[in-house]
């Protein structure tokens, strides 16, 4: 198989053994991008010069006989809402069209310390708002498994890049499912860590209390490797957790005997695709066959989670996005005075979905409505959290579908925001509770990948990685590649 289709794990071994060079690997990925990017459109900005320079530095280390870290020389894609010093970071928004951050996000510093290679900035829904990457201010991304389908969102570019072989790994961000849902649609592994586990410094905020950066990879092992690189306390992020990070690869033992799995009945709702449901139940059977025990649990406030999310996230977004006003950077509209300049700037440069959420959030926070909407949503959030606490008193992990369906067609839901919002119904409660969850492929329906979500306790990343790994080893789902460019 081609280098660009390999795992981090395999490529690291090949680099360490000097079977390949980092430059050769990067060139291979860049060549793949040349071949398929026109049809996938996973990227907003490509950084081949940076990638090759980073790769050569790794080759110099290998040549000197230095030991290299697991991500050294391995090309990855960075979601375009993660700030990269000197490289345009647009959040797929016209309002930040020419914005070049003067600083690196903490995760970027950490990846640089590992000598990871950045091939480009991945497409996304504008400011991470959306579930299909159709809300990008530039162009939609296509699902490598079916170019007529969406890759999911908002980290659709990141997931598609990995699925298409345009990157070996990627970073996404997850506010209501934006790593896990596209990972599921694209047949990749997506991990949303515990809130605070990975620094948000340099992640352009959508909804601060929900946002979290995480990896999108081809395998569970690769997910653990990227987590090892980006995890950890950051003094620059007050909400980051002051706890040491384990070596996540040590959790990948295949042993899940006695693991208690909870199946929250509220997540298996009507409207779910029958094939998706079937795939999940088969996966659960598989986990049980490996020694896990399961029981049905109830999380009664799940039905309110989506509504609460669509109060809290837009409220925070309305405030977080207020800074894009044309005064000191980014797009500036015409205007005879400051207020008209604000208005034209924001009217012209924000897309519909962003405007919709800003208006929703502004309304929810305005005086007279705060108690009825925002405050009530916070109370629901507490109840949702309590559901998780109760469930985790009995079980080690929860297993659910990642999304109720497989990837839908481009344009299919873009005129119906509410239908689009429902795609995140299984992932959103996890963000409200701040707990970690992973999505991994558990089968195919109609030729499209199906994702299984495994949810863990706070800081329970090792447990969900272990469960995911044990399951993954029983199937070849992780080895399957999108048919893209292979005669389709």
């Amino acid at each position: 198989m081609d280098l660009h289709q390999q795992t981090i794990e395999a490529l690291h071994a090949a680099l360490s053994n000097k079977q390949i060079s980092a430059e050769e690997l990067t060139q291979d990925v860049l060549k793949r991008i040349d071949a398929v990017e026109a049809s996938v459109k996973a990227y907003l900005t490509l950084t081949p010069e940076i990638a090759l320079e980073q790769a050569r530095a790794v080759d110099a280390k290998i040549k000197r006989g230095d030991a290299i870290s697991p991500l050294a020389g391995i090309p990855g894609a960075i979601k375009d809402n993660i700030c990269t010093k000197g490289t345009r970071t647009s959040c797929a928004s016209k309002i930040l069209d020419k914005f070049v951050p003067p600083y690196d996000a903490t995760v970027i510093e950490k990846l640089a310390a590992q000598d990871a290679v950045m091939v480009g900035k991945a497409n996304m829904d504008e400011f991470a708002m959306g579930g299909s990457t159709e809300n990008s201010g530039y162009h939609p991304t296509h699902n490598p498994w079916d170019l007529a389908a969406v890759p999911g969102g908002s980290s659709g570019g990141s997931a598609a890049a990995v699925a298409a072989g345009e990157a070996v790994w990627a970073l996404g961000s997850d506010t209501g499912g934006s790593i896990r849902q596209p990972a599921a649609y694209c047949g990749t592994v997506g991990l949303k860590p515990t809130y605070g586990r990975v620094s948000r410094y340099g992640l352009v905020a959508y909804a601060s209390s929900l946002d979290q950066i995480g990896p999108i990879t081809r395998t569970v092992t690769d997910s653990a490797l990227v987590m090892n690189a980006i995890c950890g306390y950051d003094a620059k992020d007050s909400t980051s957790i002051a706890a040491d990070c384990p070596d996540y690869t040590k959790a990948l033992t295949r042993d899940i005997k006695g693991l208690k799995i909870g199946l929250p009945k509220e997540y298996f709702v009507s409207g779910m695709d029958a094939d998706v449901e079937k795939a999940i139940y088969q996966a659960i059977d598989q986990l049980v066959a490996l020694g896990a025990e399961y029981k049905e649990v109830s999380m009664p406030h799940t039905q309110y989670a989506l509504s609460a999310y669509y109060m809290i996230a837009p409220a925070e977004a309305s405030s977080n996005l207020a800074r894009y006003d044309g005064v000191s950077y980014g797009y500036r509209g015409e205007g005879n005075d400051i207020v008209s300049m604000y208005k034209t700037t924001r009217s012209e440069a924000f897309g519909d979905e962003v405007k919709r959420r800003i208006m929703l959030g502004t309304y929810a926070l305005s005086s007279g409505y705060y108690d009825a909407y925002y405050l009530r949503a916070l109370k629901v959030r507490s109840l949702v959290k309590r559901d998780f606490d109760r469930a985790f008193a009995d079980v080690d992990v929860l297993v659910t579908p990642t999304a109720p369906t497989t990837a839908f067609k481009l344009g299919e839901k873009s005129s119906d925001p509410l239908a689009m919002y429902l795609q995140d119904v299984c992932t959103i409660p996890v963000n409200l509770a701040g707990v970690p969850a992973i999505s991994l492929p558990c089968g195919f329906a109609g030729g499209m990948p199906v994702g299984m979500q495994i949810i863990g306790k706070p800081l329970g990343e090792e447990t969900i990685l272990r469960a995911a790994y044990a399951y993954e080893q029983e199937h070849d789902f992780a080895a399957r590649r999108a048919p893209l460019g292979e005669g389709k």
């Binding site: 992020d237 409220a315 405030s319 207020a322 207020v339």
Partner: protein, 479 residues
């Protein structure tokens, strides 16, 4: 109709931390534009705030000095509004759970003491500064923004509507400034904007319990302006009410040059700030041990110090009040007394000559060229009779100008007082002999004549004769 004035003050004070509230940038005043800035205080996409712990310590310090309750659990909130000098278009402030609540401070106006409630103290970040091209805001083509001040830590100290006159408002401000200086959390320089005040003022018929409609007075940047602005508002509102009109709730600005207040915006145009908890900062937990340690580190505050000076040093309450109004002055006083000077003499000199020179030359006590030790030496020279009080003023002038030691000045200039009886007697006799008319006048009962004779003696001795001895000898001789 007779009205009662109701005033409440909101004071913003810039804390004298070296770095800003949410980043490590310098707070240095007067730096070149946009040099004390970083991605965090510029609110660039993706940045996060981290609280400067010194700000919390200073807030607790101010809270305790103003007799407040310190909340063990408080939080930051976002106050959302659009303004070009506010990079994020929200200000990180505190709303429902501020760090300190329910305090008070005591003021005295015309000998009447009064306790003024402090509603709350909260922490927040300052905004930047707009520089308008052209002469005024209205005709400027463009504006430039200086973000140096963005993120400088502020405390907002809100009083209860307990003040009943512009005079009381001024006294409150002076006392507040004095306390903040004592606890060393702010340099309180109004001219640099490190102490700023907004005032709410309303009138109500005497005896009424309901508050009248208030106006908020902004942009008052001196104690005098506060008093003048409030006096103007008192009159304006009273006339309005007398004419059967209604005061409208609005924000008004004080125009120092014209001596009037003008409307800025009405209640209808008021902002909806859409406060909500700042999600990028975790709640502030202040441990009891921390509060205790801050309390232990507080210096003696003005009221306590005034009490001590009047009780231990025998100063009048008034003198002790004047001396302790400024911490620097009180420290100077204590230092002079510690060097062995008499407390009352020291107080008189501080309130007299020393203050006169400081005011004339616009020098702060801390920078006084005459150091406490030197002044104490000089006061001791008066006590010992080496120089007279009058000569001392000359000596002090020289000390101020040259920084020399008083004994040296006295020696060099030959200013030592003549206290030798025989020497003085000789001069007294000579003056009596030379002025028979005055002697006659004195004997005829004209007391004034003796003053002339004393003057002649002083003139001959260039002021060095011991005045007490001169008087005593003269009276004896003229007997």
């Amino acid at each position: 109709m007779a009205y009662e004035t109701v005033i409440g003050l909101e004071v913003h004070t810039e804390l004298k931390t070296h770095s800003k509230i949410f980043c490590g940038c310098s707070t240095q005043f007067g730096s070149e534009q946009n040099t004390n800035v970083c991605p965090v205080c510029l609110g660039l996409p993706g940045v996060l705030p981290v609280v400067n712990e010194k700000v919390i310590e200073y807030a607790v310090r101010a809270g305790l000095a103003l007799n407040c309750e310190i909340l063990p659990f408080s939080k930051f909130d976002r106050k959302n509004y659009y303004y070009p000098d506010l990079p994020k278009n929200f200000q990180t402030s505190q709303q429902d759970l501020p760090i300190a609540l329910k305090g008070h401070l005591d003021i005295e106006v015309n000998g009447v003491k009064k306790r003024i409630g402090i509603t709350r103290i909260h922490m927040e970040e300052d905004a930047g500064k707009l520089v308008h091209a052209g002469n005024s805001i209205t005709d400027s083509d463009y504006a430039l923004v200086d973000y140096n001040r963005t993120g400088v830590p502020l405390l907002e100290i809100v009083s209860e509507p307990d003040l009943r006159s512009p005079e009381e408002a001024k006294a409150y401000l002076e006392k507040l400034k004095s306390i903040l200086e004592y606890i060393d959390v702010s340099d309180c320089k109004m001219e640099e904007g490190s102490l700023r005040c907004d005032a709410n003022i309303s009138l109500r018929p005497v005896g009424a319990s309901e508050f009248g409609t208030k106006a908020e007075l902004k942009n008052v940047n001196s104690f005098r302006s506060v008093q003048r602005g409030l006096e103007y508002e008192e009159l304006r509102q009273a006339e309005l009410l007398d004419d059967g009109g209604k005061v409208i709730q609005e924000t008004r600005s004080w125009d120092e040059a014209r001596g009037i207040t003008v409307s800025m915006r009405s209640k209808e145009q008021a902002h909806d700030y859409r406060f909500f908890p700042e999600p990028d900062l975790v709640p502030i937990m202040v441990a009891k041990e921390f509060v205790d340690s801050v309390r232990d580190s507080l210096p003696e505050l003005p009221d306590a110090r005034q009490k001590r000076l009047s009780e231990q040093c025998g100063l009048s309450e008034y003198d002790a009040g004047v001396i302790t109004a400024s911490r620097a002055m009180a420290d100077y006083f204590d230092a002079v007394v510690a060097e062995g000077a008499d407390a009352k003499t020291a107080a008189n000199w501080l309130m007299g000559e020393v203050s006169k020179h400081l005011n004339n030359e616009n020098v702060s006590v801390a920078d006084c060229p005459v150091k406490p030790l030197a002044l104490a030496h000089m006061l001791q020279l008066i006590d010992k009779g080496t120089i007279s009080g009058k000569i001392a003023k000359t000596v002090f002038e020289e000390m101020w100008a040259s920084g020399k030691d008083p004994e040296m000045i006295v020696k060099e200039k030959g200013l030592v007082q003549i206290s030798d009886v025989s020497e003085i007697v000789a001069i007294v006799d000579a003056v009596i002999a030379a002025n028979p008319q005055s002697v006659e006048d004195y004997k005829a009962g004209k007391q004034k004549a003796i003053g002339f004779l004393v003057g002649q003696i002083m003139k001959q001795t260039k002021g060095r004769a011991n005045p007490e001895m001169v008087n005593k000898l003269l009276v004896e001789r003229l007997g």
